[in-house]
Symmetry: C2
Subunit: 344 residues, 2 copies
């Protein structure tokens, strides 16, 4: 295999000498022509491989041509996505990789089938893919896996096939920490304003929430558990629902910062004070949490680090390195700001 010394320039002439044939013959083999005897071809192929011959085109194309990794988002509209992207870009710059961006939500009804897209990636010599919080199903990932394209999935909404590498954060532990913080403050009626029901990361956060409640002997109540998209509108709607309950919660754990911001906005509209009347915890720890009013207590995910890790894993797969694990989970940690306080 080892194309020895990709030294200065291996020319067709050199191959010809090495294989004991003429240059035109080597040329024919290289160009896949058929009028070459089988054993002649074999000799030439051996010489080509041994010397690591590259056509001038290939030479120029690989000379200083950097690997291209495609990053796929459903949409790029949140601080979450931007931070992940920045992590990818940072590591890309450091490791001399180029980043191609693809937003599937906009892919006007994706004119290209996934088969075609996967084939194109191969044809164009791309090196790998990073798929971020996308709803790609296992079946949809298949055309890429079949072509051995290195893929890493960040926080997939669907559980990825066993052999696909995924990067995420310790969602369960984060959900538990957020809830434990509220319990510590003395809250007992704590709502979970969740993300998409099916999403892995949402389920992990929800179960962390339930674990914390159960560990403290607080019953888990259905009416306090809602779900919806990771968007502020969901926070607004959820807040309205919760405020109509007879026994309002005194604290809300929102499954994302964007949801939490919706809660804050609706609270402001209804003259409900945060944290005096209701405490709010978010999840993500983007800069939005810092800049909100009041600044949001939130479970911080190392989003940039997740982006960097994803690219690192793509590059490792490219090089054919063995991976220690198919799943990397980076630590989350609770950052307490001003949106949480003891209940009134």
């Amino acid at each position: 295999m080892a194309s020895s010394e990709s030294s200065a320039k291996v020319t067709l002439a050199a191959i010809a000498r090495e294989a004991g044939v003429s240059m035109p013959t080597v040329s024919k083999v290289v160009n896949g022509r058929e009028d070459v005897a089988a054993d002649t071809r074999a000799k030439v192929l051996t010489a080509l491989e041994r010397t690591g011959y590259k056509s001038p085109l290939q030479r120029k194309n690989t000379a200083g041509r950097r690997p291209v990794v495609e990053v796929v988002f459903d949409t790029l509209n949140s601080a979450y996505g931007v931070e992940v992207l920045n992590g990818v870009l940072e590591h890309a710059a450091a490791s001399d990789v180029e980043v191609l961006l693809n937003i599937t939500g906009q892919q006007s009804a994706s004119k290209l089938s996934l088969e075609q897209r996967a084939q194109r990636i191969v044809d164009e010599g791309r090196s790998g893919m990073i798929v971020v919080t996308s709803a790609f199903s296992s079946a949809q990932l298949d055309p890429f896996r079949r072509r051995q394209i290195p893929i890493v999935v960040i926080d997939p909404l669907n559980p990825p096939p066993g052999d696909v590498v995924s990067v995420g954060a310790s969602n369960w532990a984060g959900g538990k920490a957020a809830t434990a913080h509220l319990l510590d403050l003395g809250h007992r009626r704590i709502a979970y304003l969740g993300g998409p029901e099916g999403a892995e990361c949402n389920q992990a956060r929800l179960h962390g929430y339930m674990a914390a409640l159960m560990a403290n002997g607080v019953p888990v109540e259905e009416r306090y558990i809602l779900s919806g998209p990771f968007r502020s509108e969901n926070g607004v709607a959820g807040m309205k629902t919760l405020l109509q309950l007879e026994e309002r919660p005194t604290a809300i754990f929102a499954a994302s910062d964007s949801i939490a911001l919706g809660v804050l906005a609706e609270a402001r509209r209804q003259k409900i004070r945060i944290p005096e009347d209701i405490s709010v915890v978010g999840f993500d720890g983007t800069y939005q949490a810092e800049e909100s009013v009041p600044p949001l207590t939130s479970v911080s995910q190392p989003l940039q680090e997740m982006g960097r890790a994803a690219l690192r894993f793509v590059l490792r797969q490219m090089r054919g390195d063995a991976l220690d694990s198919r799943r990397v989970e980076l630590a989350t940690h609770l950052v307490v700001r001003e949106s949480t306080a003891p209940p009134a």
Copy 2:
């Protein structure tokens, strides 16, 4: 300009004949070498363009490939950049173009010279470049222009060379509108908390501000005019400076939403009420303006539209279409929210 019949094979020799120079000279131009007289280069470039010459490498690289446009940011850390990017991506999906993202701020001291990067773009069959709010100087753009790489600059910090297409917004009119709004409310002591002094867009906003003041017979006062980067820290610092003045302004026009958010944060810290004590207007109209507390009155720029327009212009240059204009300025408009009110 129409690269006529990209027929069979246009050779360097043909170009040489057409341009009335020797083949080596054509070779130099094609390879972006600098030892060619300006008018010789011009003749050759004309011939190249007319015939639609492609190097063997390019020929192979562009066969059946979609155009790749490189989008260059200094950093991608603001809602501004993300919205522009989304505009580019949207139009890219619609017109079957791929987007490559490059963050120069991270380009670890850019190992590659600009010459090399420009040559690579040509070699790899890339089609064009969009440079966003970058501090690229005319000289830095030169390696790209010399190679006829279609470039469009969005809101450049430095005025671009005359033949480079740029996309921006009506900054002057926006600055004037923001200031007029404050004047209409009855303010007379209005500060301008500006962006980078040298930046074109900042100067336009500043002059719009001054024009509005002068039209209303309000004197322009040096002490009310500050400058700094388009970042919230600049808003914080500027707010501190303004609050120390003996005659505090009753209103602040911030040259970007991020600056305005810094003003809001510092006001909150110092228990100054917005808009009761001081009115604040921002610039950009990103979602941050909607979500801030209080929601920010801001001059809205059509950022997505600017991204779309930039890509449209790159594609037109690629096709060799004549451009109506080297500069496109899209309209801004003032969106009044809750951060402005009559002075106390």
